[in-house]
């Protein structure tokens, strides 16, 4: 409860200060309630830790909750643009909301940095994407890491069970494409819902297909249910999860049933275990330390780090844009967009960003590591 009132206060203060002239107004749309709340809450908490001034200009964060709902996300975006006259928008937490916001920011010619995973958000085939950037790794990068690890481990057949929504569907598409190219056979393809109380049917079907490994594409604690059921019904093969589970609660709920599970993740998840010569280590450890100082040990997550990375991008782009125009003006928004697109070699907590007109994400393979669950904690695989 403490966390809520604190960030609410920040949001409130930001609202009051919103009209002050020449401050830089950052509009934030997060899914702090509803189905995506486990991702949105750490993101929201992260904004309270961000610097309050960049390049000598005061920064106001105006945070609105979209309740994981697309219509609300669109409404909030319009409100931020027309009433609060924001210079840049960060959000939203999930893919459908971010996709819906693209039209609005493009119309208002305001840059936007999304914190959602799908590659479609920054697919340059859509000319409006000129205004859109994002910080989380694409599913395809994570899928490639997974398939690589599977084939190296001698896995020939794999079963897939994922959320019956955009997350599971998106993963299946990316994963099946790469699996096919690498001669990995998908022998079962099952779906379940986040709130399901039982996945016995799906699990029995998977076991009867006798796969070498199972990939579970869910996010947060709901991804524990298929794994626990598979263990209970005696499945002995290898378990793979996605980076959607990378938070402490997943380990708490899954317990000993998740020992030995493999997953791809952003390096921030295992910040302390990264080699000392890795430039990401310093930035990632810095975020983890800041977040845990405010919200308790072990409570940082990779989702909050996506918000932090959006902040780092701004800290690098705003000084460049300030040289060209004053905040609050149309020219400043254009300058900020150009500055974001021109970012080179910016180290963020999830990797190293090199933006270009065709790549508004800018990550390479340094933005992912393979991780194993060991003794109830994440362990980096070298």
């Amino acid at each position: 409860m403490k966390l809520h009132s604190k960030s609410l206060l920040v949001a409130l203060l930001a609202c009051f200060a919103g009209s002050a002239f020449a401050d830089i107004n950052v509009g934030v749309v997060v899914s702090a309630t509803g189905p995506a709340a486990s991702l949105g809450i750490p993101e929201k908490n992260t904004f309270a830790l961000m610097p309050t001034s960049i390049g000598g200009e005061k920064i106001n964060y105006i945070i609105l909750d979209d309740a994981s709902d697309t219509t609300t996300a669109v409404k909030n975006t319009r409100k931020l643009l027309t009433e609060d006259k924001v210079d840049v928008i960060i959000g939203s937490t999930i893919t459908p909301n971010s996709l819906a916001m693209i039209d609005i920011v493009a119309e208002a010619e305001t840059p936007m940095i999304s914190m959602a995973a799908s590659a479609r958000i920054v697919d340059t085939a859509n000319p409006k994407v000129k205004w859109v950037f994002k910080t989380p790794q694409n599913d395809i990068q994570m899928s490639t890491a997974l398939v690589e690890h599977m084939t190296n481990a001698g896995v020939k057949t794999v079963a897939f069970i994922g959320f019956a929504d955009a997350y599971g569907e998106g993963w299946y598409q990316e994963f099946s494409k790469i699996a096919e190219a690498r001669k990995l056979a998908i022998v079962a393809n099952e779906r379940y819902n986040r709130a399901d109380t039982s996945v016995t049917g799906q699990v029995l079907k998977i076991i009867s297909a006798k796969p070498d490994a199972v990939l579970i594409a869910g996010s947060g604690t709901p991804a524990a249910l298929p794994q626990k059921t598979l263990k209970e019904k005696g499945y002995k093969g290898a378990y793979y999860q996605t980076h959607g589970v990378a938070n402490k609660d997943f380990l708490r709920v899954c317990g000993k049933d998740c020992e030995g599970t493999f997953l791809p993740a952003g390096p921030v998840l295992v910040a302390a275990q990264l080699p000392a010569d890795n430039p990401i280590k310093k930035v990632a450890s810095d975020y983890v330390a800041k977040y845990e100082a405010a919200h308790g040990k072990g409570n940082s997550s990779t989702f909050g780090a996506h918000a932090w990375d959006a902040g780092i991008l701004l800290q690098n782009a705003v000084p460049v844009a300030l040289k060209k125009a004053k905040p609050g003006s149309k020219e400043f928004k254009v300058a900020l967009r150009d500055a974001l697109e021109g970012l080179k070699n910016v180290t963020v907590s999830h990797g190293i960003v090199n933006m270009s007109p065709t790549d508004h994400l800018g990550f390479d393979q340094r933005a992912r590591v393979m991780v194993r669950v060991e003794n109830g904690d994440w362990k980096l695989i070298k």
């Binding site: 809520h4 949105g40 779906r191 819902n193 109380t197 029995l204 604690t221 609660d249």
Partner: protein, 344 residues
């Protein structure tokens, strides 16, 4: 699909169906007595499971503060009326609505329930969550007890949304599990039956029998039945419809909370899990026309089995299949029963 898989699915379906059956019974009961379609029924499932989980984790469940707040609110609203009835009535009000939550709070905060035996933890979780039922009735439904069904339904939706929001605030977005009541498992002809699933089925059966005895034998049970049959008539016979309403909500809250505590070891429970479970109980209750207890229970079991088997054959369409069940049932019911105008 061989016999082994069919048996496993059947077992899974019956365990889930038993929980849906309990909720279906509670929904039928609440609707019959108060005409309220009790959408927040599912929230008690989530509150029960998550309260128990946070007690076991040594945390203070947020539901405790809700209990205190609702208690004070009820005491303030009822104080003038109870004073008119004399000091005894007022003392009773204070005792139940203020002193009782304080005693429960003292137990949770003063001792360490995390180290208690499981049975006591379960009782404490029940003590925290169940009184919310009658308190809700007093605060949300009693002032509009005579309103049309539609108004009561709208209030139910509002209460449901408020409770889900509070659930997120209290327990956070991630789910919890509790340890099983019993780790035992039995091997019968290659079919493994876990102790927990026997607990669920056993507890459901005991509750159903207990409810039957309550309604058939006890005076309060008969009063509830009388209210369900004819509100005005029951009132003329000196039965307090307010008391009937509170008693009904007490039973519904108890059934919901207990269901939550029963399923918490089998599945991960989230702050918003209850709604979907309650909805499936509702499908069962609809099969029984929101009136017949045995048919509602059978309908809920059918929902559980349908869910288990459809998750095997077509997992992506499971919910579609389960909720589509309601259409043929409604068609059949509207053809089979004689049409009569709503009184309101």
């Amino acid at each position: 699909m061989d016999l082994q898989i069919a048996l496993l699915l059947g077992q899974d379906g019956i365990v889930n169906g038993a929980i849906y059956a309990l909720l279906a019974l509670a929904l039928v009961l609440v609707f019959a007595v108060t005409r309220v379609i009790f959408i927040p029924q599912g929230e008690f499932v989530a509150y029960g499971a998550l309260t128990l989980a946070s007690l076991q984790a040594g945390q203070v469940p947020g539901t405790l503060w809700l209990l205190l707040a609702c208690g004070v609110a009820v005491a303030v609203i009822d104080a003038p009326a109870s004073l008119r009835f004399g000091k005894g009535r007022f003392a009773k009000l204070l005792g139940w609505q203020v002193l009782y939550p304080i005693v429960v709070a003292a137990l949770v905060l003063g001792t360490a329930p995390g180290d208690w035996p499981m049975a006591l933890q379960v009782l404490l979780a029940l003590a925290v969550v169940v009184p919310l039922g009658p308190q809700l009735y007093r605060l949300a439904y009693q002032p509009i007890a005579e309103a049309p069904v539609l108004v009561l339904l709208i209030v139910s939706v509002a209460v449901h949304l408020a409770l889900v929001g509070l659930g997120l605030l209290f327990f956070g977005a991630e789910g919890s599990r509790t340890p099983a009541f019993s780790e035992a498992s039995f091997d019968i002809g290659g079919l493994t039956i876990t102790g927990q699933s026997l607990w669920v089925i056993g507890a459901s059966a005991v509750l159903i029998v207990a409810l039957y005895i309550f309604f058939e034998k006890s005076l309060y049970g008969k009063a509830l039945r009388a209210t369900a049959v004819n509100r005005a008539g029951a009132r003329l016979m000196g039965i307090s419809t307010t008391l009937a309403g509170k008693l009904t909500f007490l039973l519904a809250a108890m059934i919901g909370t207990l269901s939550g505590i029963l399923i918490a070891p089998i599945t991960t429970v989230y702050y918003d899990t209850g709604f979907l479970i309650g909805l499936k109980g509702f499908v069962g209750a609809i099969v029984g026309g929101l009136a017949s207890y045995p048919v509602a229970a059978a309908g809920a079991l059918l929902v559980g089995l349908l869910e288990a088997f459809s998750s095997f054959w077509a997992s992506a369409f499971k919910e579609v299949i389960v909720f589509t069940l309601i259409i043929p049932v409604l068609v059949w019911r509207s053809l089979a029963s004689r049409h009569h105008e709503e009184e309101e």
